[in-house]
Amino acid sequence: MSNTATNAVTAPPGGGRLDGRNGLGGAPRRGVASRIINRVGGGVVQAGLVVIALFWLLPTFGLFIASLRSETDNSGSGWWQIFTAPAQLTFGNYSELLKNDTITSAFVNTVLITVPATILVVVVAALAAYAFAWIEFPGRDWLFLVVIGLLVVPVQVGFIPVARMFGDVGLFGTIPGVVLFHTAFGLPFAIFLLRNYFAGIPRDLLEAARMDGGTEWTIFMRVIMPLGGPAIASLTIFQFLWVWNDLLVALIFASRDSQPLTVAIQQQVRQFGSNIGVIAPGAFLSLIVPLIVFFAFQRYFVQGVMAGSVK
């Protein structure tokens, strides 16, 4: 795992792309598959893949259509009815959703939690990763092994003690509390990922900067940060999605006023079971942002996930 991380982030451009030449896509190769395909008949395999792709798309598509049908239509029949009755499509649920204070303020909370938690993790981890990669100090290797050990610590061990601690200092139930918890538990992976990437930056560049009399701070800002761009991008996107998608941490540390979208929707599921007119568009609202991020920064996200194969 650790080395997948190093590989993913030290890979040459295109390394983590789904369509890149690095084997994630269809670079021409005479592999086992090609021969099997030739033998079985490409058509059958292709048809099978089309079915599987549909199978993977349909559930999300179903939610999307359900979010565009009225509560009455949804409780009486399935979303596939729109193929015979396209008139059922309506933006009614969404305009209701925008008037729903619980949901809109939860959406704002999600942003208020996700953005700081992402920035904090990136900044704090980049500083630490630079020290681990390029400053000699006693106990460095030992300390880094601790960071690696912390990679797999389940969040559950943090909840009871941190809830108590936050309660004592008045952070429990507040947005800063949620942000701090996310930051702390995001750090081991972030430091690990950035340190491995920073360590791959050519020594000469740093030496040259030091010769020119650059302080550690200017080297960090002028050399490391710009060159570490790809890894930082991966980390940013990965952490953004991680925090945006979180339910459990917010369920424990957020209050009614600070709850993010995931918790607000979850409450709807619990309380009203069949309140699909709110749940479906709400869930779609919560997944459309990650999907846009995913499609826009596909390559960095894939790299982040590959590197994150330990979390």
Binding site: G62, E216, A280
Partner: protein, 506 residues
Amino acid sequence: MSTESVGTRPPATPEAGSGRLGPPPWLSAGFLLPAIVLLALLVLYPILYTVWRSLYDAGGSRFVGLDNYVSMFTDSVTFGWSDSAAIGLVLVITVLTVIALTLGVITGAVQRSTALRIGLIGLPLVDVAAYFILAMNSPMFTAIKNNVIWVVFAPTLITALGLIFAVVTERIRWASAFKLIVFMPMAISMLAAGVIFTLVYDRAPERGVLNAVVVGAHDTFQPSTGYPGARPRPNGPLTAQGEGFITKQAVQPGRPALLPVVAVNIETQRKLATVKPAAARPGVISGTVWVDFAPGGGGAQNRPDPNEKALSGIKVEAVSGGRVTGTATTGNDGGFVFSSLPSGSYQLRLPESNFTPPFNGVDWLGPGLVTPAIIGAYVWMWAGFAMVLIGAGLAAIPRDALEAARVDGATELQVFWRVTMPLLAPVIVVVLVTLVINVLKIFDLVYIIAPGATQQDANVLALQFYLQSFGGGNDQGLGSAIAAVLFLLVLPAMAFNIRRFRQEQG
């Protein structure tokens, strides 16, 4: 794992001691301080506190030693699962392990002595433990049992799917589109995935897409033409036999048998034609099946009156000495005829297939299927992850190795199992370990998808932790013990990570 297998350069390690120009060590403190404070305060200290807290009672004031751990495993324990189900799963675990070890030895990934040690000592211990966990029943045991099921099935299923997808798409033109589609669910939250799959698994076939498909397929092969809930007319010639009906006495050839039925759904009746008593045919067994109920009153019992309805499409069996000798089906007027029966004494039977309720789909989120159903949603989310990692590993396999084997006359299957798989083994191990760690902590999907009625049946450790410590259980002593157990379970993965890192650094 060898770095080459994933196909890029290893990270350069800063050489120690060569930095004359290097900054003084104390400078590192400034850079490290924020991270160390956060990690120490919010991660390291909580680990210790959780372990310590698990030795105290619910309120946290009384030291109870290991009581929380003991009660975790003994509270309200009964034997739940049937022996056979538990033994079945233990067998699956055994077979999977043996297969994995055999493959490991063949491919050289595992040493023979290690495999023997695991197989002869480790496996029996795991089997005995698994048996007890599976056969016992309490919220905690259900949680552990489900975690075992999750850990055994979800990672293997996902890895197998990922491997198949990666191999099959290697040469497909639109592979990147396919991978994009399969990978997409990784980006969305478990909450959204949970909502998506509660819609998919909806019990009602008119709403849940899965049951709509299942019912559609079922009805194509086995159309339901039944009259559920119908009963023989009391004091009539028919009597219930099992779920079907049979005449009390043998019928006489040449005299049409009258087989009255009541309690047919009124909606169904509207669609039926009026009954027309069958004409007598000498020497032939025939008769009429109808609804012996005249709407609005009137009409004689056990006689087909003109305003009563015929039951069409009913299967009628001629039974002689317990054996079915012939079958007939009623027409629109309710009449049936056995044209070529050997002579003898016959009773007529209306088998239960006429009266079974229509197939209404599967209760996916019921007690029996809820965990497999949620695992299905999880597979949907994570298959792309396995596919992409394995695909990257596959692409990094040097073509020469494959070609060399082919030149030596290896078949494609041999190339796959003897060359590709061993080179892929490290990537597969990474995928499996990652999935196991994730699956151990599974919470959101179970919490969202499992309806209140079957939440206990779908329980897992992380959910039990939440319910005990925050979601109403109000016992943070027991909660801490569960968290400590979760922590204990990831320790091997922690050791794995640290060892791998040290090996890489040389």
